[in-house]
Amino acid sequence: MDLTLNASERAFRDEVATWLAENAPRERRPPAGPAMVEFDVAWQRRQFDAGWAGISWPAEYGGRGLSLVQQVIWYSEYARAGAPTETGVCFVGNAHAGPTLIACADEELKRRHLPRILSGEEIWCQGFSEPGAGSDLAGLSTRAVIDGDHLVVNGQKIWTSYAHHAQQQELLVRTSTGARRQDGITWVVCPMDTPGIEVRPIRTITGHDDFCEVFYDDVRIPLTNVVGAVDDGWRVAMSTLSFERGTGFLPEQVELVARVDELVDLARTRTDRTGRALIEDSGLAERLATARAEAHAVLAMTLAVISRNARSSLPGPEASMVRLLFSQLQQRVAALAVDLRGLEGLAEGSPWVHDYLYLFATTIAAGTKDVQRGIVAERVLGLPRGR
């Protein structure tokens, strides 16, 4: 247990903070459409050009090859500078597909894709969920058969964020049926311009096309695009679900602290009909104080997960507890932001309504909160397996 940064880490923190203060976009990220894609890619490019993309990625693929502590510092300062923490179009490439390629892909795939992910040239999407396989990912049934030196894919994916903007997809397909359902799955890089792919955007509760259905009709993908081995995709997928050793959500978590700060300030200045400051309302004060305290707790829990993961090669299931608290806290803070603003907070198209609606996804995506609780019960606490 130690929070003290040494002189070179403090210098790194100052360097990062200075660059971010001068370069982080000030304007709000557009919520959808070509303007959103342009915004995300331009910001990714600016980080890449200045040498800040891929903080912990190996230098030979365009990253910085820095330590875990420096990565934590970068993410923390990034959020404190007000840089965009929304799940942008570059998110899957940076946070999931890229780290998976680094961990499991051959040299050819790494050299082809990693620099392009960092420079913003390649947007990636994640082809995991299916109509019949959501939280129960191992139930996926999109099939691929080997035909010569190609996989031929038929089936359907769903809830694929930004599939309509992506050039590449990390795709899980069923190549055989083994003893366990996790056997016989293959992880493959699927170029989204391959003939036979049809993408249909789905309108979400925010009113925007945030994700898509993707249909595959005899889609031919070279076998050289397989990461790991055919039938070994479950291991490949799980190798990066630990999410960069626990740092994956750190920017959003640090940003949440700043978001609560804004709400505390708002509650001090905004008054009710009688002229009383909102913060004098003990109910609102309790919600604000709990939100700030729990936002601090999320950071502490994440730091503990990072510290534990740094000591062991196998990340533990404790990250599910962070996910449980963080995702529900995000929703509570978004609700507070709406409630504190009265009628203004209810305006359709306002950022507060958008965030409030968009954040319903956080207790569903990456395993619903119910699934996360099951993981905590059985894998953290060791309770008997149930169904």
Partner: protein, 325 residues
């Protein structure tokens, strides 16, 4: 490594020593019988003093072990986990702020918190409350802005018993000169240590629920395999982890807002987990013999020790968000 929240070997050894010394079964039995007189187990207290618990955070040349608030928090979490009672809080904070061989050696110090018009400074006056009326050989008056060490001239008026059988509440009237340390350090440390005790209670409730639901069978299966029970236990574990990690972070940062945040999160964790633990034990949870109610009682008492909910809220909302790194 910096930015590290996992105990190292030395810190784990401290926890192991506490686990060896503290006997939860004996502690709970004493609480259950609620005898008169001091709640402190004198034998355990003496050994704790011998092991250097009270001077843990003092430099070695001041007679301490040269460790810090993080290690103290680990110890006080064990006090909570094992339901250990006694004036550990006041003695530890007093020894840290006003080092002396007697305090490091375990002269018991009760905590005084303002309860009406009062002044904590070089002169301490007014009405205070305490949980340590039977035990204290001296007093530590605590306020968010300073702490005073009071050795003489107090009037102790017992008040009704607390729902926590480990507390011996009283109203204490003081009007005397005192050794005074200005600044928020004592209050922050006390807040962190109360949060640590509450985090330990929350963890104790998780452990008790897991131990029970993993073996208790109904409908031919352990009840811990039922989703409803699993989900409740998962939420309990999450609360306990939030309380524990935030308390350790606050201990290392020694920062008032983080300490208040830890107290808020740990108070909720301790009370809610104790309630859930009673529920998880079914009919047994409603009995005097099962420890679940003792943790509930302690959690309520300790949550109110340093002030009411509005005080804690105000401390959490004071100023912009604190940074730990």
């Amino acid at each position: 490594m910096p930015l590290d929240l996992v105990p190292d070997d030395v810190q784990r050894a401290i926890v192991d020593a506490a686990v060896d010394l503290l006997d939860p079964a004996a502690g709970a039995a004493a609480l259950r019988s609620r005898g008169d007189g001091p709640v402190r187990d004198a034998g355990v207290w003496e050994k704790a003093a011998d092991q250097g618990w009270f001077g843990l955070a003092l430099p070695e040349d001041a007679g301490g072990l040269g460790l810090g608030a993080g290690e103290l928090a680990l110890l006080h979490r064990e006090l909570g986990r094992t339901l250990t009672a006694g004036p550990y809080l006041g003695t530890t904070v007093a020894a840290t702020l006003f080092p002396s061989p007697e305090l490091i050696g375990g002269r018991p110090v009760g905590v005084l918190i303002a309860d009406g018009p009062s002044e904590v400074g070089p002169r301490v006056t007014g009405t205070f409350r305490t949980d340590d009326r039977e035990d204290a050989a001296a007093w530590l008056a605590l306020s968010p802005t300073g702490a005073a060490f009071v050795e003489t001239a107090v009037t102790v008026e017992p008040t009704p018993d607390s729902m926590d059988p480990g507390a011996r509440p009283a109203r204490v009237v003081v009007d005397t000169a005192a050794r005074y340390a200005e600044g928020p350090e004592a209050w922050t440390l006390a807040t962190v240590l109360v949060a640590a005790h509450l985090a330990g209670l929350a963890q104790g409730s998780v452990a008790a629920s897991v131990a029970h639901t993993a073996v208790r069978e109904q409908f031919g299966r352990p009840i811990g395999s039922f989703q409803m029970v699993q989900q409740r236990c998962a939420d309990m574990a999450t609360r306990a982890d939030a309380a524990t990690q935030l308390t350790l972070l606050a201990a290392l940062a020694r920062e008032p807002q983080l300490a208040a945040s830890a107290l808020l999160v740990a108070s909720d964790a301790a009370v809610t987990n104790a309630r859930d633990d009673i529920q998880n034990h079914g009919g047994m949870g409603f009995t005097w013999e099962v420890d679940a109610h003792l943790r509930l009682r302690r959690a309520h008492g300790l949550r109110a020790l340093l002030g009411d909910a509005a005080d804690v809220r105000a401390a959490v909302l004071d100023g912009p968000a604190a940074r730990a790194w």
